[in-house]
């Protein structure tokens, strides 16, 4: 059986510094049974593979010119995977679109970390923020863990921008 693909091109969103996660998820929600997604992105969207995998899609990524990527997500027929157990993956499919988008690329360290933590305090439990950074925020991770927040992040293809999504702890109120 050949899979019919719905094209989703998020390159314009990424180039504008936006967050395409919600657009992709909307497209996935709108698929008919048996349909797949052909995604075009400016970087290899590794974090998405896990999310789509848990939704029952296999992936096949092909690098295009200029470091851009085409990824075919095919339904595996397995339907939804059993609930994942890794703490970082809990509720992975249910991450809402970011409520706050930060571009912290021009800030001196450790200001990017301070801005992200400050923003997480403004969010409601379960809400997500997205931030663009110049490098991986190694000192931020322990603090996010300590506060019970979840995160995922990766560099773009050229390794010049790191994008992190932080989901505020559902039990933020008791974190103090």
């Amino acid at each position: 059986m050949t899979t019919e693909f719905v094209d989703v091109d998020v390159r314009p969103i990424l180039r504008a510094g936006g967050e395409p996660f919600s657009v992709i998820m909307e497209a996935v929600e709108g698929l008919a049974p048996g349909q797949g997604v052909r995604l075009f992105a400016t970087f290899k969207p590794i974090p998405l593979f896990g999310v789509m995998g848990s939704r029952g899609f296999s992936h096949e990524a092909v690098e295009l010119d200029d470091g851009e990527w085409e990824v075919l997500f095919r339904p595996t027929g397995a339907g939804f995977a059993p609930p994942p157990t890794h703490p970082d993956r809990v509720d992975a499919v249910a991450w809402p679109a970011p409520s706050i988008d930060l571009d912290n690329r021009d800030l001196d360290p450790p200001e990017p970390m301070a801005r992200i933590l400050e923003a997480t305090e403004r969010l409601l439990p379960g809400e997500v923020l997205s931030a663009l950074l110049l490098r991986e925020p190694r000192f931020l991770f322990p603090e996010l863990t300590r506060r019970g927040h979840q995160w995922r992040g990766d560099f773009d293809a050229k390794r010049t921008t790191y994008r992190i999504l932080v989901r505020v702890s559902p039990s933020k109120a008791v974190q103090g």
């Binding site: 301070a114 933590l117 400050e118 305090e121 110049l134 991770f141």
Partner: protein
Amino acid sequence: MTGAALFRWTMSYFAAALIALLAAEAMMVAGLGFPAEPLRSPSSLVLVHLITIGWLSLTMCGALCQFIPVLTERPLHSDRLALPALALLVTGLIALVLGFLRLDGRVASELPFLSLAALLLGIGFTLVIWNLACTLWYARPLALPARFAGLGLAGVAVTAAFGTIFALVLEQTISGTFFVRIHAGALPIHIIAGLGGWLTITTAGVSYRLLAMFMLAPDIDEASGRTTLRLAAIAFGVVVGGGLAAVLAEVSLAVVLGAALIMAIAALACYGRDVLQLFQTRRRRMLELNSRMAVVALVNLALTAVLCIVLAAIGRVSEHVGAVVFLAAFGWLSGMMLAQMHKIVAFLTWLEVYGPVLGKTATPRVQDLVAERAATRWFMLFFVAVWAATGALLAGSVPAFQIAAFAMAAATAGIVGQMIKIRRLSHVPQARRLPGNAVQPTLLFTAIKVT
């Protein structure tokens, strides 16, 4: 992906290192050791090792225990080894100093201090190397700065091994032909492996990441940095492998050192190109104190190379080797380490105190912990004093050197004072100092482990 925790003992290593630096500067002011006394005199050996083991190596060890986990995304192999290693290195250094002083009768004791020092320093460095090397090993494949640090660890291993042999032969604890030949001829290898292989290569590697991070520059192109690393590794290999062969064959080291110098100059040129790229591609136009002072230190590294080449061309290296080593040790290594230490202390203190309350309440910025203008004045005094002292050495004027050394000691004390103020949060207005649940940090270690 666990991120990086704060290393508990960085401040303890830094404090011990700064005490050694101030002690060494006090010796220079008082006219103990080089240049007032011959380079190979016991007092000069005390002075040199206070600087190289006490100041430079302890600083580097403390910094790497914090930095390598950040670079590799892995926790330090062992948290328990770091403090015993510091205790062994400090007591080993004290034994070494006493051992040297016993050589010319200033310490009257029959205790075999040098052998004891060899044992304590040998175990101390082994613990540090083991801990850091294991962290690196399990984190492969390594980023470029981590690979420089790996080569640097080979440098300290070689330096410590030669040092151990020298100490044991000097005290006649060992007396085989192999060891006696090494003692007789391998001093240049010991010095170059220490200042070049260990301290310069590691400092260069660390600088790649610190400069990129604080100037908002993209990391150095992997291929370009790899060339620099390979050239440095070849220069190091030639000095150690070729040098050892020459020493054991009892032939002159001149050819080996000449070849290594050419490779080292090529490596330095590549490093200069890499650093220039970092400065050119930075997004931050206004540089902070640590980056500005790093520029001065890098210029001093270039000056050291030029001085080396000029002296080699006119055949007067051996006459002025003291001036070359002094400029490398103080203008380049000490300048770079003091500048980065000032920033690291502020950064880690800020993270320790304000990290847990970030976002929950208004917190000071890192720069609020620092009095940059006052610190800049002390740094400039330090560098001017180093240049004056180097000039005095080249001119052969001991009194002028002592005056310059006094200025260096005063500048160092000023910089240390600034770092103590950072640790005490003295520059932050009282009302904003400890918001929310923030806790005053202790001076000498990190009390809260942020994990």
